[in-house]
């Protein structure tokens, strides 16, 4: 699983042409992953949310993180190993705009 973090696009204040360029980079990346048969699926996350924490399960508005720590979405991909998955994440288009990718393996649980 690729977990994407970074500022939301509205925080970046892009011009129409930059919007288009940003999108085109994602298309190229996803197209590339798909061509290799690696892409399974993914979803963006809404910016709004709630956070519940503490012993008393206090509910607060908004996601826990902000700015470059904000969770923006995820991909599920197929890879042979964590190393290979990391290589596939190297083309993530948003490194330039403070974005980051966390690569995690989804634990497979086989019931006896």
């Amino acid at each position: 699983m690729f977990i994407f973090r970074g500022p939301t696009p509205e925080d970046l204040g892009l011009t129409p042409e930059q919007h288009q360029a940003a999108m085109q980079k994602w298309f190229t990346w996803i197209g590339d992953l798909s061509a290799k048969g690696r892409y399974v699926g993914g979803d963006p996350l809404m910016k709004e949310g709630r956070t519940i924490q503490g012993k008393k399960a206090v509910v607060t508005d908004g996601p826990f993180a902000e700015g470059k720590e904000l969770l923006g979405g995820y991909f599920i991909i197929k890879a042979e190993s964590l190393e290979e998955a990391t290589e596939l994440a190297a083309d993530f288009p948003d490194f330039d705009t403070q974005g980051s990718v966390e690569v995690r393996e989804i634990m497979k649980i086989t019931m006896p």
Partner: protein, 428 residues
Amino acid sequence: MSSSPGESAQGQSPQQLVDHLFRHEAGKMIAVLTRIFGFHNLELVEDTVQETFLKALQIWKYRKIPDNPSAWLMQVARNRTIDLVRRQQKLSGISEELATRLQADTELAIGQFFLDTEIADSQLRMIFTCCHPALNPEDQVALTLKTVSGFGVQEIAKALVSNEATIQKRLYRAREYIKKHSVRFEIPVGVALRDRLDIVYTVLYLLFNEGYNSVKAEELIRYDLCAEAMRLCKLLSEHKVGSEPSTFALLSLMCFQASRFDSRIGEDNTIILLQQQDRTKWNQELIRMGYYYLNLSSTGNQLSVYHIESAIAAEHSLSPDFASTNWQSLLYLYDYLLERKPIPIVQLNRSILLAQLGDLPAAIDAILDIAGIDELLRHHYIYSAVLGDLYGRAGNMTEARRLLEMAYHLTSSLAEKKLLQEKSAALK
């Protein structure tokens, strides 16, 4: 996840957006929304367009691009507009029945503004508003690029070889004027339309020339600027108020000029003059379009400057090389042009024609007659280069050598320097 690109685009090449889709759609949306909310709400309008793009960015990134991205964006903008209007008209003290009916009417009325013909109409209104006669030309150009063409401030600064703060200032000044004087968001009629069209032509021509002639800006943005001027001119020509001979003449001129886009810049990023251009690089398709529009422009009894300039450009496109140019026909056109546009560069070009036709003394006199010629010779290499060359051909070697040397120091182009050096060396 049946609609994820993983399944639909398996093994296919990445999705592509039409070039400048967002820029063009931004212009359309801004025009339509401004007609609905008024120019005084331009910030709200621009925010709404921005929101629409953000939505597209999020959704399209993770899913497939819709079959008709342009319609999708318009749909999102339309729905958002309906939301905004409803929020503003929330009334208390009316029955639920009336509220429902009013809502349905709102939706219908707003929907009308999003019809294709109305979108074109709104865009024309925006162009005409940006070209309001009370604004100065540089503000008109900046505002047009921002609101009609969807350029960002930094892109405008780059295109016009300026800085962001200056562009911001121009945009602010122009917008404030329009708001303060409650300029109506409409297409003028009668004589006012005639006058306003002339300003629109000037602005489009400025945009084009900025892209065509400025050697300081980056090649890519220059190209964008020319393409954008042509797109807007075409948009104008397709609308009933803009479908005028002068519009076609301007469009035709742009096509002829643009056909030489690739051959006009040398390796050292300087303008290559017509005489030295590689004519095999000229874009034949654009030349063909140039003739097509020139043809359309020759109805009625209007003869604009653009007609003459386009006919001149066409004349050059006709001749296979510089030597076989029809100088007599060009001289005739330049005489016409000079009457309308008595500026030094036109006078200089006309004098070259006299020389090509064999009348060197008249050519030299014509240049010396240009108002402020001493200044021009001292500061613009093209004047000293041409005059020096003519003196050389007329046998006045002292003057020729002096002027060619002056030109040599004035130009920064290596190719030009080399050419001038060769000319100097050839003098006996």
